[in-house]
Symmetry: C2
Subunit: 341 residues, 2 copies
């Protein structure tokens, strides 16, 4: 093992620099100057999002591989760009490294990031590398772009808009449950749930598709949990939401997990969190055509899960009765005890 600190900040930058520039077009200055410089395609607005991950709050160092950690730190930001309908372009990675952390660990994190970045044509164009006294800290900022007319916002939904999601919800939270309770992933179904938690796939292509369709009036990525995130859309649009529980896409893995542990899969899917699929509100006149086009393009369904309603109520329809959506907002400082701790 080599202590990360022995190679120094500049030494480390020299080691990783080569893998960071995967799409040189449009880049005027990469790593190694006072700031990075690049062009965003003419006529597009610039998108910026950033996420800070703190050891013992967002991850446990012994519960994920460094590659997983790097992958996820970048993926959650790419997902935000996807939710705006944008193209992800440049990433900036700040890390603070506690004493004694192996160089190999930090290089593993960067491998996880550069591998995902390469898959989506995203450059790592800069960042900051420093010491930490206690916890490993990772901040990623991602710059993307989109034509302003195509940009997807949280607000803008109208009553009667159909709600869809681009993939299964609940798997990531089930994976987190297995990790936090140190339950053995002794079946492939459980191992897949843990992978869903560690290795979310940002729905960038899906976001671009939705943005270009002209049928989507509002969108969000499912990070806090489906019901919380739909509450964000409803509030930003001044509306309510009615979710059809029967429409929620539940994976066979989640169904198996819930049977084995005695949980309600619908409640799991609604509370969820860190699914990183997209939820969107669609013009009802264009919903059927959009769903068909999505399936033709991605070879899997765009899942109808309910609709926007004119009141301010958040409801779920299940087995013929309509009940208020359980409050499951995932804030980073919940007034109630942290449901992840």
């Amino acid at each position: 093992m080599t202590d990360f600190r022995d190679v120094g900040e500049f030494g480390f930058i020299r080691r990783i620099q080569g893998a960071c520039l995967v799409r040189p077009e449009g880049v005027a200055v990469a790593i190694g100057d006072d700031a990075a410089a690049f062009v965003v395609p003419e006529g597009e607005v610039t998108l910026v999002t950033t996420d800070l991950l703190v050891e013992r709050v967002h991850f446990l160092r012994d519960a994920a591989s460094p590659e997983d950690l790097g992958h996820k730190a970048l993926a959650v930001n790419l997902s935000d760009i996807a939710a705006m309908g944008g193209t992800a372009r440049e990433a900036f990675v700040s890390i603070a490294v506690p004493g004694g952390l192996a160089l190999e660990y930090v290089e593993g994190m960067y491998r996880g990031m550069t591998s995902l970045a390469t898959a989506f044509g995203v450059n790592i164009l800069g960042g900051d590398t420093t010491a930490s006294r206690a916890d490993l800290i990772i901040n990623v900022a991602v710059v993307g772009s989109v034509h302003e007319k195509e940009m997807l916002r949280r607000g803008g939904a109208r009553p009667g808009d159909r709600l869809f999601v681009t993939g299964a919800v609940g798997d990531s939270r089930a994976g987190l449950h297995l990790i936090l309770n140190r339950l053995p992933a002794d079946e492939e179904a459980l191992a897949a749930l843990i992978r869903a938690h560690h290795r979310p796939r940002p729905h960038l292509a899906e976001g671009r598709f939705l943005a270009q369709s002209g049928a989507v009036r509002a969108a969000i990525d499912v990070s806090d949990g489906l019901s919380s995130d739909l509450v964000h859309v409803a509030r930003a649009s001044g509306l309510g939401v009615r979710i059809d529980a029967g429409g929620l896409p539940l994976s066979p893995n989640l169904a198996h997990f819930c049977r084995r542990l005695g949980f309600d899969p619908v409640a799991y899917a609604l509370a969820g969190g860190e699914d990183y699929v997209l939820a969107c509100a669609v013009d009802p006149g264009k919903a059927a055509a959009l769903a068909r086009a999505f399936e033709a393009r991605f070879h899997r369904p765009l899942h109808p899960i309910g609709e926007m309603t004119g009141g301010g109520r958040m409801e779920v329809a299940r087995d013929g009765s309509v009940t208020p959506l359980p409050p499951a907002g995932w804030e980073h400082f919940p007034a109630s005890p942290d449901r992840r701790a």
Copy 2:
């Protein structure tokens, strides 16, 4: 005192949101969606820089006011944009807050940031707010822009280019010495050095002036320390540097501090660090006119401090003799013991 965590992430965002948008033009989406969206002026390249500040590594919570901390976290990033010759536009602030930290403290930090941001027309357009188990963490990313032809790089200097700095060097390090050794700032000169450390003024107007002059071939902001930063310029340009010690701008406050504590002011100014003035290499045929124009514009001198040389040597000329520049690289993980610890 209100515990920061009692107001929650979303509650806090609602409290600070109003002060964050100081220049609405060009902003399509501010705080409150999946990503911020804005336009960069047509024909300009986008600049991005980011800095991560970690408690007990970069600052001590009891040694600076929260306003100072917020000011500095933003200022160091604005300084990087200044060093590229750019205009700073949008800032993104991620914070991780340890348990028990007062809401008032975090609001004070934001006051420090928004006050500086307002002075330079910079919006705070987004970020992330989360919990930390141990230390207070602040990551700031700043987006700026510049016409590519005006952009100032570290490389590009030529042998014989004259070196200048836009302000005094060494004050900030002297202030840090007073802080770390808990020496009383019992005279105004010493209090001013501490202010220089806590409240650096980003030289954005100076950077724009240098960029537009057409006379500057390379530039950097003095963050690691003048000699380290000139080594960066020299390496990026494939050249050497000869500093004229007699030309170094030493403030009367630094001179007083060095007399009182028995330090060599030249060594202090060369090692320095966190001065956040700009150093630049200037076409020798245009140097005199540039210095005159700078003085006319800013009512203080552009200080000549030496020149770029054809070899790879880093030297300092002092009292008629030329000696190698003492190695004083400030890396965040120095192989030698951390000179700040």
